[in-house]
C-alpha cells in the first residue's frame, strides 16, 4: 500500500507502484473534454512510437475515448457535480504485449447493477455476435441524455478487446456505487 503523501518518501513508493504495475498513464479527478483529448493524444503517440503498426495504438485510444466519454455523458445526464463527476482512468501494459484500460466512476447503484449485466452479456459474445449487435445498435434511434448511456460505445469497447470485458461494482453510501470496467487490448 502507498502511505500518506505527506512525506517525500511516499511519492517514491507511488512511483514504485506505478512501475511494478506497468502503468503508462493514470488519472483521478474531474475530467474535462480537453483533458480527455490531451491524455489520449499523448497515449496514442507513446504507443505508436513503440510499434511498427498503428493498430495497438488505435485500439487502446479508441477504448480509452469511448470509456472516458461514456463517463462524461453519464455524469452530465445524472447532473453530477464534483466529487461524483470525476473519473478514474488507468492505462497499463500487461507485460506480454497487451494493454489494459481501466475506467471507473461513481454511479447510481441501480444503474451500476444494470451496467454489470450489460457488460457480462457483452463479455459472453464472440466477435461476429458483437459485430451484429453493433450494426443493429448503429441503426437504433439515438436517445439523447439516456441515463445509462453506454450503448454503442460499450459494444465498440468489447469489439476492440482481445479478452472478455471485466467489471465490478463497489457499493458506496447513499444509494451509489463505484463502477469499474477493465478492457484488455
Amino acid at each position: 500500500m502507498v502511505p500518506s503523501l505527506t512525506t517525500h518518501r511516499s511519492l517514491a513508493s507511488l512511483r514504485d507502484f506505478f512501475s511494478t504495475e506497468r502503468i503508462l498513464i493514470c488519472f483521478n479527478g474531474p475530467i474535462s473534454r480537453t483533458l480527455i483529448s490531451e491524455i489520449g493524444a499523448a497515449l496514442k503517440e507513446h504507443i505508436e512510437s513503440t510499434r511498427d503498426c498503428m493498430t495497438a495504438a488505435m485500439d487502446v485510444f479508441s477504448v480509452y475515448i469511448e470509456m472516458s466519454q461514456n463517463i462524461r455523458h453519464y455524469s452530465a445526464a445524472r447532473g453530477y457535480v464534483e466529487p461524483e463527476a470525476t473519473a478514474t482512468v488507468v492505462i497499463a501494459e500487461s507485460g506480454d504485449g497487451h494493454y489494459f484500460v481501466f475506467a471507473g466512476n461513481v454511479v447510481e447503484l441501480e444503474d451500476g447493477k444494470a451496467l454489470l449485466e450489460r457488460v457480462e452479456h457483452l463479455a459472453s459474445l464472440d466477435k461476429p455476435q458483437l459485430k451484429a449487435l453493433y450494426k443493429e445498435q448503429l441503426r437504433q434511434p439515438r436517445v439523447e441524455g439516456a441515463a445509462t448511456g453506454a450503448g454503442l460505445g460499450l459494444i465498440e469497447v468489447a469489439r476492440k478487446s482481445s479478452a472478455p470485458l471485466q467489471c465490478s461494482l463497489d457499493v458506496l453510501a447513499a444509494g451509489r456505487a463505484f463502477f469499474t470496467l477493465r478492457a484488455t487490448i
Binding site: D52, C53, M58
Partner: protein, 137 residues
C-alpha cells in the same frame, strides 16, 4: 474551437473548417461537387462539426443535380462520429437510388489497418461507388 456550428448551408456555399485535435479538416467545394474530410473525429458532441457537413450535403443534393465526390482520409472515428457518418451516407444512398452520380474515396494510412476496416464496415451497408485504398509506404 468550433467556429460555426449549427449554421444552415446556403445554396452555392463552401465549407473550409480547419482540423482540431478532436475534429477533422473539412473542405466542401460547391462548384466542384467535392467534399473532403481529413483527420480524426471524436468530439464529445458530434453536432459541433457534423451539423455543418450534413446541412451542406443536403443543400448540395437538393440544390443541384450534379455529381458529388467525397474523399475521406479518416484515421479514427469515435462511435458518435460513426453514427453521424451514417447520417451522411444514408443521404448519399437516397440520392444514388434516385439516380445521382456519387462516389466515396476512402483513403487510409497503410500503417493503420483499423481505418481500412472502418471503411469496409461502412462500405458493406451501401451500394454506391465506394473505393478503399491505402496511401503511404
Amino acid at each position: 474551437m468550433t467556429q460555426s456550428s449549427g449554421q444552415t448551408s446556403t445554396q452555392g456555399s463552401n465549407l473550409d473548417l480547419p482540423a482540431t485535435q478532436a475534429t477533422p479538416a473539412v473542405q466542401a467545394d460547391w462548384n466542384a461537387g467535392f467534399l473532403l474530410m481529413a483527420g480524426e473525429s471524436y468530439p464529445e458532441n458530434t453536432y459541433e462539426i457534423f451539423d455543418d457537413i450534413i446541412s451542406w450535403v443536403e443543400a448540395y443534393l437538393t440544390g443541384t443535380d450534379r455529381p458529388l465526390h467525397m474523399e475521406l482520409r479518416l484515421n479514427y472515428l469515435n462511435t458518435s462520429s460513426i453514427r453521424a457518418m451514417i447520417d451522411i451516407f444514408d443521404r448519399l444512398q437516397n440520392a444514388a437510388d434516385a439516380g445521382r452520380e456519387l462516389s466515396v474515396n476512402w483513403l487510409y494510412d497503410s500503417r493503420n489497418p483499423r481505418s481500412a476496416e472502418l471503411g469496409e464496415e461502412f462500405k458493406e451497408d451501401y451500394d454506391f461507388d465506394f473505393v478503399i485504398s491505402a496511401v503511404g509506404d
